[in-house]
Amino acid sequence: MTEAAATQGTEHPAYLAHQFADEAQQFEAASLGMWVFLVTEVAFFGALFACYTIYRHLYFAGFEAGSRLLDWRFGATNTAVLIGSSFTMAMAVRAGQLGRRKGIIGWLTVTMILAVLFLFFKFNFEWAHDYHERLIPGFGFSHPGVHSPAVQLFFCFYFFMTGLHAMHIIVGLGIMAVLLWMAMRGKFDSGHFTAIENTGLYWHFVDIVWIFLFPLLYLVGGRY
């Protein structure tokens, strides 16, 4: 190893991985990687949306009947909560860009509180209620109406899509906890905020999924 390379090695910031030539390359790679990952997520949820679309097309009335069994007020509240968390997340990323430790910690904490609130509404009120109403397919589902099979299909998708979404929220909470810990230890003070930026992208994506889930699940019931 030449002397130049050796000294260059010592100049490397701690967060610069060995395979990258410089910070710009690392940042761009991480950002592109995250976007590509989000594309796979689009395909992942997209397959479910495609199934949903086909069945809603085939069983229009049944899906409307299923949707009417959901309480739109919880859906709307949770939408607001999640949009709020997206906003606070954007603020956390902004704080990261500016290298403000307190800002990062504060906004991340608010985001996490909102995420927990979302899950609390979802599980404690909605899912528990659905269980009592025997609306969970596979767990004693029963629906007396004329559209029973279609309603069961609707609820299959309702639970699978919101469940998968909730899982993403839980994973996001875990990542944010790590970020919080890193922020407290001052890892982002130097303006190296790639991790926050990417978590933000992930979180906004989760928000976007919900932006579609809310009307498609809660509002299509022909409630007029």
Binding site: L32, G33, T40, L48, C156
Partner: protein, 546 residues
């Protein structure tokens, strides 16, 4: 420089193999080359498990009444053979082994963009493969690798859920590998390495990665839905409960048809490298070959419906899918013509990798052309679901992808292991595989046209002659695959030390010692010429250099 390194006693030089010792240094490695070897070991195991199942099937089919096993067992044999070979051997084969090893070296980088994710993807693969092997040991799955509902979700009482979850998990390994390659090829190319100086292997890997990240999530979620349906007895794809089995087929083939290109595109990349090297010429029509890879990846996503011509899909959808299926044949044809043209006026040597590559061209040509029979609606009605289909896709996947994989392993083996393999044995094995393969699968084309349906444990006596021929070929093919296993392992210890560039090949991976140091390159290389510059140095380039 390379010669000097090669002459030095191996013990004095630190390379990626002897940089560290012990199980931990392998299981926790972030070095893309070591991860490639981890993949090589694991998929070799899967290959021979899948191969053993195939041999059992062929032995069973010698007798029309089914000589060896019960029909149930036979059904499990072909299902496990299919799932293991496709999801746990072919899909990771070239990308995860050769791609992992070569992508960073070919772009002139020290590693992939995300080494930790790379290691993670191997662990995910192992988790999925373990579940698949568990399903095999615990009694197998009998749905066919296609998992058609409602048979898989309602009627089969085998380990469908285990297998579905196994494939679901392994899918993420594939996604992460593809993601890593895309970012690496985009962002980590050495100075001077423009897109049109990339080796064609990288173009192929790039196109493959696109399919991996865009298609795999769909099949993952679909198989998860099948698992859920079976577990909870709900009817997502079961018509008795309101589901649509054709929707399953759409989602399944949306990935699983492009998956064929995941298997064969990297093989095309390997063949481009090998042909160029052993005829000492630049690949004819470089940009056409490069763009054909990309167009295969894109058009390949639009043809999945040709698996469903007789499945109950709308006949108008069938008409469109048929047209698009014909279109995807064109880029493949362009590649074959360009490879052949590359040989013209070359300096062709018959080293083992070249024999595999030329075998690939021939077999892939046949596989591709017989695909036309299945893309055209009227003949597909007769041929779909018969042995014609079996023969066709084995020509693509075994005659194509596996031949290329073997060729690639032989071509880069000196770089990977630092040792040479016995050349005569390698050529002999290549010849045996070529002959055995054709004997096994050519009769199956005739069987299919004759009308023998696939997945039959027993069959009417009029099909026996061709079946016996096929089984005889399978034994030869099996021997052909065992020979390289033996001599490659032998060569790791006893083979002659390989120089840095035994084939006098072009490409960044040959400019570094064999085996390469952990960091691949001591100095980041600067690329000043196009790929495959085998010809005399161009005056213009020289002038620019001075």
């Amino acid at each position: 420089m390379s010669a000097a390194v090669a002459e030095a006693p191996p013990a004095t030089r630190v390379d990626y193999l002897n940089a560290d010792y012990g199980v931990k240094s392998w299981l926790l490695t972030k070095d893309h080359k070591r991860i490639a070897l981890l993949y090589l070991g694991s998929i070799t195991v899967m290959f021979f498990v899948g191969g053993a199942l195939a041999v059992l099937m062929r032995l069973h089919l010698i007798d029309p009444a089914g000589g060896l096993v019960q029909p149930d067992t036979y059904n499990k044999l072909f299902t496990m053979h299919g799932t293991i070979m496709i999801f746990f051997f072919l899909i990771p084969s070239i990308p995860a082994v050769l791609g992992n090893f070569l992508v960073p070296m070919m772009v002139g980088a020290k590693d992939l963009a995300f080494p930790r994710i790379n290691l993670l993807s191997w662990y995910i693969f192992i988790a999925g493969a373990t579940l698949a092997l568990y399903a095999l040991v615990a009694g197998g799955v009998d749905t066919g690798w296609t998992f058609y509902t409602p048979y898989s979700s309602t009627y089969s009482n085998t380990h469908v859920i285990t297998m579905a979850v196994g494939i679901f998990i392994a899918g993420f390994s594939s996604i992460l590998t593809g993601l890593n390659f895309i970012v690496t090829i985009h962002k980590m190319r050495a100075p001077g390495l423009t897109w049109f100086r990339l080796p064609l292997f990288l173009w192929a890997i790039y196109a493959t990665s696109l399919i991996m990240i865009l298609g795999t999530p769909v099949v993952a979620i679909t198989l998860l839905l099948v698992g859920l349906e079976k577990w909870l007895h709900v009817g997502i794809f079961d018509p008795a409960l309101g589901g649509d089995p054709l929707l399953f087929q759409h989602l399944f083939w949306f990935y699983s048809h492009p998956a064929v290109y995941i298997m064969v595109l990297p093989g095309m990349g390997v063949v481009s490298e090998v042909i160029a090297c052993f005829s000492r010429k630049r690949i004819f029509g470089y940009s056409f070959v490069a763009f054909s890879s990309m167009s295969i990846a894109v058009i390949g996503f639009l043809v999945w419906g040709h698996h469903m011509f007789v499945a109950g899909q709308s006949i108008y959808a069938g008409l469109i899918f048929s047209l698009l299926s014909f279109l995807v044949a064109i880029p493949s044809a362009i590649k074959v013509f360009n490879w052949t043209a590359t040989l013209y006026q070359g300096s062709i040597s018959y080293d083992a990798p070249m024999l595999y590559a030329l075998g690939f061209i021939g077999l892939f040509t046949m596989g591709g052309l017989t695909g036309l029979f299945l893309a055209s609606l009227a003949t597909d009605v007769h041929l779909s679901g018969t042995y014609f289909v079996v023969a066709h896709f084995h020509y693509i996947m075994v005659g194509g992808a596996v031949m290329a994989y073997m060729g690639g392993i032989h071509y880069w083996w000196p770089k990977i292991s630092g040792r040479m393999y016995p050349d005569m044995w390698a050529r002999l094995a290549a010849a045996i595989i070529f002959i055995g393969f054709n004997l096994t699968f050519f009769p199956q084309f005739m069987l299919g046209y004759l009308g023998m349906p696939r997945r039959y444990a027993t069959y009417p006596a009029e099909f026996q002659v061709l079946n016996v021929m096929s089984s005889a070929g399978a034994t030869i093919l099996g021997v052909g695959y065992l020979i390289p296993l033996i001599y490659l392992i032998w060569s790791m210890r006893y083979g002659p030390i390989a120089p840095a560039n035994p084939w006098r090949a072009k490409g960044l991976e040959w400019t570094t010692p064999s085996p390469p140091p952990t960091q691949n390159f001591d100095v980041t290389p600067v690329v000043t010429e196009e790929a495959y510059a085998y010809g005399p140095p161009r005056p213009a380039a020289e002038g620019a250099h001075d």
